[in-house]
């Protein structure tokens, strides 16, 4: 405790409440409110309605939800496999090579997502790998952008793992594949689940690369929120944003439950 006087503390907490309220609470509250607003011409909406939600839940928006969920699932799963694979394989390299390769696996997170999209367009717009205009290119964009985060999470998890269990297993005669499957991966599970959750959340909100490469039939949630608000349909955009936030938060909470149970 830094400030002892009661008025001093009250003053500081007021500052905190103001900052937190204006920067974090107000945006979320106002998105929620506008997604329920009937008409909004004054300070507050004139009435509340769930019409925007029922509008977005039909047709195009529902398809966008499916596109986002499928993209998020597949890209995160692939990123989880390749990130875990890379992190495990890096352990047996010598130190310098491991450091260089580790850095290379991190670099996709540092490159602007629009440029990742541009690169995919340039690279895969002609044979032998013609992917432009397919769903696959959206998945690849998401995979590239989130792979660095899964790799980072799993590597951090591996670094925290005590080597004792693996050594004991090894000295008891467990072969590498058995050791990986029955010792290392189970110990890593909380980190794997956390990595998957973070990747999924990132993929759900990804806009920059997706807007560069998406084919007409595969419009993700962020892209369709942008086109709704760009057309002036801000209330529907807000409703769809609430859906995106709710799905992301539910997913993160669920995964947290899962890991919580596993570490206990």
């Amino acid at each position: 405790m830094l400030v002892w006087s009661r008025p001093g503390r009250m003053l500081i907490w007021t500052v905190f409440a103001l900052l937190f309220g204006v920067l974090f609470l107000a945006p979320l509250a106002v998105i929620l409110l506008s997604s329920l607003a009937d008409q909004w011409n004054g300070v507050l909406p004139s009435g509340l309605t769930v019409e925007h939600y029922s509008d977005v839940m039909q047709g195009a928006a529902w398809k966008a939800m499916q596109a986002s969920l499928i993209t998020g699932c597949l890209a995160s799963a692939l990123a989880l496999v390749s990130g875990t694979w890379a992190a495990l394989a890096l352990r047996v390299q010598d130190a310098t090579l491991a450091r260089v390769l580790g850095l290379l696996f991190f670099i996709p997170s540092a490159v602007p997502s629009v440029s990742v999209g541009l690169g995919l367009l340039v690279a895969f717009s002609h044979p032998p790998l013609l992917l432009n205009g397919t769903i696959a290119i959206v998945m690849i964009a998401h995979f590239v952008l989130i792979s660095a985060f899964t790799f980072g999470n799993v590597s951090a998890g591996l670094a925290r793992l005590s080597p004792d269990f693996e050594q004991v297993a090894s000295s008891l005669g467990a072969r590498p594949a058995y050791r990986l499957w029955h010792v290392t991966l189970p110990l890593l599970t909380p980190y794997l689940v956390a990595a998957f959750g973070l990747s999924f959340a990132l993929s759900m909100g990804e806009l920059g690369a997706t807007v560069m490469v998406y084919p007409p039939g595969w419009v993700t949630l962020p892209v369709s929120i942008f086109s709704l608000t760009d057309r002036g349909d801000v209330f529907a955009g807000a409703a769809l944003t609430m859906v995106l936030v709710a799905v992301t938060l539910l997913l993160l909470l669920g995964l947290e439950r899962l890991t919580g149970r596993q570490t206990r």
Binding site: M1, F24, P27, W85, V114, L121, A123, V144, A201
Partner: protein
């Protein structure tokens, strides 16, 4: 000492799996580095496939590029400064003047990292837009004819949105650093009559500097690359490098120009990434 003899060296030497790194590395090379190389190549060749540096130089001197570069740098420096201030103030209060529920609030701010960045911009149009709550309220109270608050569609609107979105990235390492500060030292200073401001300056801030540098350089990197917020603000005067790449490639189909700008944007980002890694390394991460 006896333990050291049977330590991991054996595991690493016995595993023959050096080549296991090839599949994920090949995937990364094909899907990320190969497109990256093609961007660079396309930036320096014209449509007929001949080497052409003139176009690169022309874009470098073009007004639209220079404006976007200045905008990008102004916005990211201002937003990072804002993130550092907001992160520091919130962090100091959460760590040293905690209130009931401050732990929950810290977690809540943390989850902002997982939410899409454009959410904040969309919310800001309802709050501060020309027909937003603030303007409607002010017009009603002072019976004004025109909306008085106009900052949203300017550079400052983008900066404020980015401060909201990215200050958790400063707050997180800062709270970690604060949890290591010796409370006894603060209490001792406090008992000896040091005022809170002085304790912050002389005891707490020195411990927080590495976290501030790491968080700040991460913010610089992320704000230079930010796309969603600028796209959603949709203001004509606020064009940053990522937005310029998008509009050149998708709206004008000028791929070479887009690639040239991308090369510069990527170079800028990689420089900042290096700075961040260096800072995070010094932090002991």
């Amino acid at each position: 000492m006896a333990d050291a003899a049977i330590l991991p060296a054996q595991i690493t030497r016995k595993v023959p799996g050096r080549l296991w790194i090839v599949p994920p590395a090949a995937l990364l090379a094909l899907l990320f580095f190969y497109p990256l190389v093609l961007i660079v190549q396309q930036a320096f060749t014209d449509d007929s496939g001949m080497a052409n540096v003139a176009e690169f130089v022309r874009v470098l001197h073009a007004r639209f590029f220079l404006n976007a570069l200045i905008n990008t740098i102004t916005i990211s420096v201002a937003a990072t400064a804002g993130c550092l201030i907001v992160g520091l103030v919130l962090g100091l209060i959460l760590a040293f003047v905690p209130f009931p529920g401050s732990g929950v609030i810290a977690r809540l701010i943390d989850t902002f990292i997982a939410l899409p960045t454009f959410l904040v911009t969309l919310a800001f149009t309802f709050l501060y837009g020309s027909a937003g709550m603030l303007n409607a309220g002010l017009m009603e109270v002072f019976s004004l004819q025109a909306p008085p608050v106009n900052f949203l569609y300017s550079t400052w609107g983008v900066v404020l949105a980015e401060v909201t979105v990215y200050s958790p990235f400063v707050l997180r390492p800062l709270l970690a650093a604060f949890s290591l500060v010796d409370r006894g030292q603060i209490e001792a200073a406090s008992v000896l009559g040091a005022r809170p401001f002085r304790i912050v300056r002389q005891v707490i801030l020195p411990a927080a500097v590495p976290a501030l540098i790491a968080g700040g350089s991460l913010c610089l990197l992320l704000t230079v690359n930010e796309f969603g917020i600028v796209l959603f603000i949709g203001a004509k005067g606020v064009i940053t490098l990522p937005l310029l790449i998008y509009s050149k490639a998708i709206q004008e189909s000028a791929y070479q120009v887009a690639c040239i700008i991308a090369v510069i944007n990527i170079a800028l980002s990689l420089g900042l990434f290096g700075l961040y890694r260096f800072a995070a390394g010094r932090l002991g991460a």
